[in-house]
């Protein structure tokens, strides 16, 4: 029987099989940030051991960092201490750090790929559930907990039972106004927030193969939101083209050797999955979420479904939306474009192109937050910041920002945000905040009109 892409990458990294237990999996690339690593380093200290292979770990602070005045010390004392701890720990153990103010600093899942740290066929882990992002390169990438961060630091391995395999095939061309974010929100709304639990997803079909790497990363990033550990896409010419020439990409003869290997990474035609789903790209509209988990989403022009379930009703109450009514036209207070889901250059191009020549609505606060220092540089090089300024919108500095309420960018209680990030949980963007997840294009429509709006109408698509 043939092997799936996932099998090929996973099996090549198994160091040992434990009877009736997990497998010992070797990790090629370990990314760390300031929130989930300090207790792991403390654990190493307690055991009196050093990092086993410091060259395989890369660090950057992102969750706690402010997105204005980054040249000044972080005002919040606890945030500052956590970021300082990362600097101290990486220094002590000889780990590469892109600290605050470094041109490569940014959200860890934006930084890894754009510098060429992420490559096809790798195992990639990080103490962060959106590590799934790196699956876009045909890597087996998934989030881990702090105990596991300690394991990787101590031994370059973790212990994992092998997940089951699911394939999601989407075929056809996306309609105007429909972006990769809409594709993944659509998939999650069909599978529900727990439908992928226990699985690793392979995304297949020409809808994905015709996406850019940025688009594929947006899709893989949100695999965790249907409960899957990760999602991946077979590497192809688009992948190789993206990786080539990046700072940490293989060079010269090494490059040719790697590409030859990467070309073997695809699912064999006779391989079998534990679960399969198929969707048609033509059925996908611009999406929006109306509830408090990413599975509670729908086409933006649809009406909120009715369900007799206390958890469901609680979610609608929290969001102040009504079953049987549309969300179109609801006044929006905040628009957030950024995060590891939609904080890459293409996302800002799409947003800036859409708002070009128009004005931000007076009732909305708009936060535009590049995913990394490199993205920020590119935005400026392309003059997108000027387009934003003319629309009355300011560009901020890189970080996780309003994706989670851990730094200064918090949405106040009761306020409604249209966000390009990945989670709409209660209070995710600040205690009492209400979040609707959408694409950068739908975010642009909200920024211009001050309401939840269909981008196809606002921009005549």
């Amino acid at each position: 029987m043939g092997k799936t892409l996932f099998d090929k990458v996973w099996d090549a990294h198994v160091v040992e099989n434990i009877e009736d237990g997990p497998q010992v999996l070797y990790i090629d690339k370990h990314l760390i940030h300031e929130v989930t690593s300090p207790v792991a380093f403390l654990g190493l200290d307690r055991r009196g051991i050093k990092v086993f292979r410091p060259e395989n770990t890369v660090a950057t602070p992102d969750h706690n960092v402010p997105t204005i005045n980054q040249d000044k010390p972080i005002a919040d004392e606890l945030s500052r201490m956590q970021v300082d701890k990362l600097t101290e720990n990486t220094k002590k153990h000889g780990i590469t750090l892109y600290g605050l103010g470094h041109p490569n600093q940014g959200v860890v899942h934006v930084v890894g790929p754009e510098l060429g740290h992420t490559q096809p066929g790798m195992t990639v882990v990080c103490g962060d559930s959106h590590t799934a992002t790196h699956g876009a390169f045909g890597a087996v990438a998934f989030g881990i907990g702090t105990s596991e961060v300690e394991m990787v630091l101590a031994s370059q391995c973790i212990m994992q039972p092998k997940p089951k395999k699911m394939r999601i095939t989407v075929s056809g061309k996306l309609k105007a106004g429909v972006t990769p974010k809409d594709v993944v929100l659509y998939i999650i709304s069909k599978l529900t927030a727990s439908g992928g639990t226990g699985y690793f997803i392979e995304y297949a079909g020409d809808t994905f193969t015709s996406m850019t790497m940025e688009g594929r990363m947006t899709v893989c990033n949100m695999s965790i939101e249907c409960g899957a550990r990760g999602g991946l896409i077979a590497p192809d010419e688009t992948t190789f083209e993206y990786v080539k020439g990046r700072e940490f990409a293989p060079k010269g003869e090494e490059w040719n050797k790697k590409v030859e290997y990467w070309k073997t990474l695809y699912t064999d035609s006779d391989a079998v999955f534990d679960m399969e789903y198929t969707f048609d790209a033509a059925d996908i509209k611009p999406q929006i979420t109306f509830g408090t988990n990413p599975g509670m989403g729908m086409g933006i022009d649809e009406i909120v479904p009715d369900e007799q379930d206390i958890t469901y009703k609680k979610a609608l109450d929290y969001m102040k939306v009504q079953a049987g009514k549309p969300v179109l036209g609801m006044p929006v207070d905040y628009v957030f474009v950024g995060s590891c889901t939609n904080g890459r250059i293409e996302d800002f191009r799409a947003f800036a192109n859409a708002v070009k020549g128009k004005q931000k609505a007076d009732n909305v606060v708009v936060w535009i937050v590049p995913g990394s220092g490199q993205v920020e540089k590119q935005i400026k090089a392309e003059g997108l910041d000027k387009i934003l300024n003319e629309a009355g919108i300011e560009l901020r500095q890189p970080g996780c920002s309003a994706c989670l309420a851990m730094n200064d960018d918090k949405v106040p209680a009761g306020k409604l945000a249209v966000a390009t990030s990945n989670r709409n949980f209660e209070g995710r963007q600040g205690p009492g905040s209400r979040t609707m997840l959408a694409s950068p294009l739908t975010a642009a429509a909200a920024a211009i009109t001050g309401k939840v709006s269909d981008p196809r109408e606002v921009f005549g698509l």
Partner: protein
């Protein structure tokens, strides 16, 4: 080393809500510590306290009717972020077992790595527990790791749960994975990744 897991017989705290995500278990603003300290104080912070920091009386953790080492919750418990702080806050609060009809993957791993036992039961059995607790808040549950069973003591209703043999041994003996991996160092050092 983690604390050794022994059979637990205890009343429980019911939380009949589905999709309880880790942002509810411990909101992001409480993740700023650089040590594992005080996370229990902020367990379910925004459901437990109002915006003036007053306890919300009818939230189960504040309801004196309920107590014990077992938390029982609706399906898809622990979804969302990978923060191990969620498992720490539940454990440090005093829980040793979480019962649900479905757990998110990363949360399950994190729990097992910290001596907190996730017990997955069928949806009807979960409903039975909620019902029993509603009738009698001091309903006792017995969780026997050796036998892999959970029992509603009063009615004697019982269901078995799954756990892989390796993890079971680790919990019983209080071993952790890091000790094991460190003992494999030589083998790991010789291992060649296809990407190396």
């Amino acid at each position: 080393m983690i604390e050794k897991f022994v059979t637990i017989t205890s009343p429980c705290v019911p939380l009949p809500i589905e999709n309880v995500d880790t942002d509810q278990i411990i909101p992001a603003r409480f993740l700023k510590a650089t040590e594992r300290k005080d996370f229990d104080k902020n367990l379910f912070r925004d459901w437990r306290y109002d915006s003036n920091n007053n306890p919300i009386a009818d939230f189960p953790l504040n309801n004196t009717k309920y107590s014990g080492k077992i938390l029982v919750s609706g399906k898809n418990f622990g979804s969302g972020s990978s923060r191990e702080h969620a498992a720490w806050s539940i454990y440090d609060y005093g829980f040793r077992v979480v019962v649900s009809s479905f757990f998110a993957d990363i949360f399950k791993n994190n729990s097992l790595n910290n001596g907190l036992l996730p017990v997955q039961v069928s949806a009807p059995f979960l409903a039975e527990i909620f019902e029993a607790v509603e009738k009698n808040p001091s309903t006792m549950l017995e969780v026997d790791l050796d036998a892999q069973t959970i029992t509603i003591v009063e009615s004697g209703k019982k269901e078995s749960f799954e756990i892989n043999g390796y993890k079971k041994e680790c919990l019983k003996k209080g071993y952790d994975d890091i000790d094991f991996l460190i003992s494999l160092k030589d083998k790991i050092a010789k291992f060649k990744s296809p990407l190396a």
